[in-house]
């Protein structure tokens, strides 16, 4: 009998140990996947924050620029830079034939004459002189310099020719290639040229969408939650509403996109591809999340507080506004931020309302066309150029950073208020 008991006890301990092991391995798996995921993104994406520059001597030849003597500022603004830009690239190899000259030109970015123009606008005294100017390398050379480009492919399968590589290697050997922090990734809008493409448009688009979403969803959701929780009678109708709010939270986001397309764009004729429409569509999605969070935190306010206020002769409205709602605010706010974080990562509905369009301007208001960060990831992931691969990962990093900050903020709000009153 005693032995039997001991066996039973041993069995129980072993079962507990096994269970612990399962739990630990589950956590280990989760962490492993997360690490792989983050490592992959960082290792692909970190190089996008660096940009390769070619240092090329440029002669600001007034004649080639069609400038008279003593030009005014406006003249310098209007001058022709293409010729001197072309010349400075050709000068890298004075013996180049026409085809090779063409290849030389393609070693820098498409708008290289603009960079030369900026240089002269900064310092008009350069006119007639020669200066080494930083020119953005083409996306392919950028990738070559970062080591992301397989140089051993046969030439006809590469976008970089042997000739370009030869000149490039000479420049590298002379220290005329430099890698610097890629500011334009944050200040430029999208571009067809990978080396010029940036996230400014989609970042602003995301911010505007989230703001529109917040301004619509928050007041509506909080009022709905307060009414349902504090004022509405508990009957079949309110039960029905509650069930449907929960259902709404489970509706696939693409359905909201169709709704936005069919109603906001088709019927109300709101401007396409704008954060305004995107924000309204996202607010439909965020609404149930905030309502559920707000109701939960209203429910969590102890009934004794309501009774205390009511017994003091406060009206229902006063009880709600003076006590219940302020006490529920931390929970509501953190729920709101989490809802917004969800909306921030949403892609499908935005694609449907046209925020997937190629936008090479930075939006100044919610009424201007814009992309959003997740849609930008989608657009770049679809692009064939090698230069966009790292951009996708970099954009994901920015989006993740954004989300982490928002969630941190939600945590802080909740934590701070809890500390204050308990």
């Amino acid at each position: 009998m005693n032995k039997n008991k001991e066996q039973l006890l041993n069995k129980r301990y072993k079962a507990e140990q096994r269970f612990r092991l399962y739990g630990q391995s589950a956590i280990f798996m989760a962490l492993l996947f997360l690490t792989i995921f983050i490592f992959k993104i960082f290792s692909t994406g970190y190089s996008a924050f660096q940009k390769t520059w070619l240092i090329v001597p440029v002669t600001f030849d007034a004649e080639l620029m069609m400038l008279d003597e003593n030009p005014t500022k406006q003249d310098i603004e209007d001058a022709d830079y293409y010729e001197i830009a072309l010349q400075s690239m050709w000068n890298l190899d004075p013996n180049a034939n026409e085809d090779q000259q063409n290849q030389l030109k393609r070693m820098v970015s498409y708008f290289f004459e603009r960079e030369i123009k900026q240089e002269l606008l900064k310092d008009p005294n350069l006119l007639g002189k020669t200066k080494e100017v930083y020119l953005t390398a083409s996306d392919d050379l950028d990738q070559v310099f970062k080591g992301n480009y397989p140089r051993d492919l046969p030439e006809d399968q590469r976008r970089v020719s042997d000739y370009q590589l030869k000149i490039f290697d000479q420049l590298v050997a002379n220290g005329k290639v430099e890698s610097k922090f890629n500011i334009s990734f944050f200040t430029n809008a999208d571009s067809r040229e990978a080396e010029l493409a940036g996230i400014a448009s989609s970042f602003m688009g995301s911010i505007f969408s989230i703001l529109v979403c917040l301004m619509i969803a928050f007041p509506v959701a909080v009022l709905a939650a307060i009414y349902l929780e504090e004022f509405a009678p508990k009957n079949r109708f309110t039960d029905f509403i509650e069930v449907n709010i929960n259902n709404l939270a489970a509706v696939p986001s693409i359905v909201f996109g169709l709704l936005g397309l069919g109603i906001l764009l088709a019927i109300f004729q709101l401007p396409r591809s704008t954060p305004l429409v995107g924000g309204i569509t996202l607010s439909l999605m965020t609404l149930p999340t905030i309502i559920i969070a707000a109701r939960a935190s209203l429910k969590a306010v102890p009934p004794s507080i309501r009774e205390a206020a009511l017994a003091m002769g406060a009206s229902r409205m006063q009880t709600t506004m003076h006590h219940t709602v302020p006490l529920s605010m931390p929970g509501t706010l953190s729920g709101t931020i989490i809802g917004l974080a969800q909306a921030l990562g949403e892609t499908a509905p935005l694609i449907l309302i046209g925020m997937v369009a190629f936008v090479n301007t930075i939006p100044g208001s919610p009424m201007d066309p814009a992309a959003s960060l997740p849609v930008q990831i989608y657009i770049w992931a679809e692009s064939a150029e090698r230069g966009f691969v790292e951009k996708v990962s970099a954009c994901i990093m920015v989006l993740l950073g954004f989300l982490i900050i928002m969630n941190l903020f939600a945590q802080i709000i909740r934590h701070k208020f809890e500390k204050k009153w308990s």
Partner: protein, 258 residues
Amino acid sequence: MRKNGVKMIKIKAKDVDVFYGKKQALFNISLDIEENQVTALIGPSGCGKSTFLRCLNRMNDVIDICSVKGEILINDFNINDKGCDVVRLREKIGMVFQKPNPFPKTLYENVSYGPTIHGIAQSKQEMDEIVETSLKKAALWEEVKDRLHEPGTGLSGGQQQRLCIARAISVRPEVILMDEPCSALDPIATAQIEELIDELKKEHTIIIVTHSMAQAARVSQNTGFFHLGQLIEHGSTDKIFKNPDNKKTQDYITGRFG
């Protein structure tokens, strides 16, 4: 209090029935409450004494399925009438709950809340006075006068309950309802509250629900005994405890059930 030997009746309940949905919780309660006296309501758990107490300031309104029938006259005015304004009623009838429930705000805000919403104080100075006198009457002033702007939730249980009493008397109610005010407190805090109740009855009529028969005997002048939703017996505390008319009362008081 007796004026010229005549009992002054503050509250007159006539045939009060209370229903929770279809279930009847109180049957035909008729009870007179004397002015400036402490009336204790005793009885086993679930007998309806708290329900009756909550009828007196219409706190049962909060519960959707609860309905109250019958007349409750306070100063000869039926509070179950359609014309009765609950806000005014609750200004006149304060309540202290079983578990101390100060607002999670400062001590000062706790006590000044009632006067604020009822517009009793005209100036900041007047409000300060109300807060001070209320806390003094609740025998809490000396302990907290230096930390009026700290959270009320930081006090001990007994102090919190006295804070709730201060909050209740801040609007000078005529009646104070107490729903087992000492059940969450230790004996020392209980003794303090009981002393306070004795003091408060000079200015307020007090109705206290209690589980402790000793407490009822100590603090009250009148006692009502509830059982299964019926008022079995009521009268002066002396009589109920020493010489009850009803066998059930006798059994409960001597501890044979309950």
